[in-house]
Symmetry: C2
Subunit: 106 residues, 2 copies
């Protein structure tokens, strides 16, 4: 119906945008992304495969033996970074105070 729905089909899940954010920071390795986002391995694996399949990231083998990979943003993936910037600004203004408050009473 509109571009937003299509966009969400590619990146509208719990870990995709956090992973892309890390790639934007220059954090390119699986285990680093995993540590910094807190995503479970299995979820992160499928998410990175999906993003690769959608052409938002590329997987690069940077060593053959043993096989080691890193992930980099494609042009399409880079195009999301400014949006993530705006989302962070919005989040800091409206979401962070709320989330902190709600974590207090748990």
């Amino acid at each position: 119906m509109c571009g937003i729905a299509d966009a969400l089909e590619l990146v509208g899940d719990r870990w995709a945008l956090l992973a892309l954010r890390e790639l934007g920071f220059g954090v390119n390795r699986f285990s680093e992304i995993q540590a910094r986002t807190g995503a479970p391995k299995a979820s992160l694996t499928t998410r990175l495969r999906d993003l690769e399949g959608s052409g938002l990231i590329e997987r690069r083998r940077y060593r053959e033996h043993p096989p080691r990979d890193e992930y980099v943003l494609t042009e399409a993936g880079e195009g999301l970074l400014p949006i993530l910037g705006h989302l962070r600004t919005w989040g800091e203004k409206y979401a962070t105070p709320l989330v902190r408050a709600s974590r207090m009473d748990n």
Copy 2:
């Protein structure tokens, strides 16, 4: 860790942003939002309740008997509209062609 994660805690799910988009278009009634997004009733109900709880939307009773409600964006919710605009632009450029292509071979 950063505002993006907090933002996603509020709106990072399958239906929240689509519902907010509709409110941005001036579509304020439950059944209209449901029809235009395709969200199942039960999911939409919990999503709208969550968004109300987070202060991104308000519920207004516009008739008492029988009770009828409509939803409107708060200031925090309005703040997301420009981001949705950018996301739509991005989606039309990168996501829509892909999603259309992948629907062909199903």
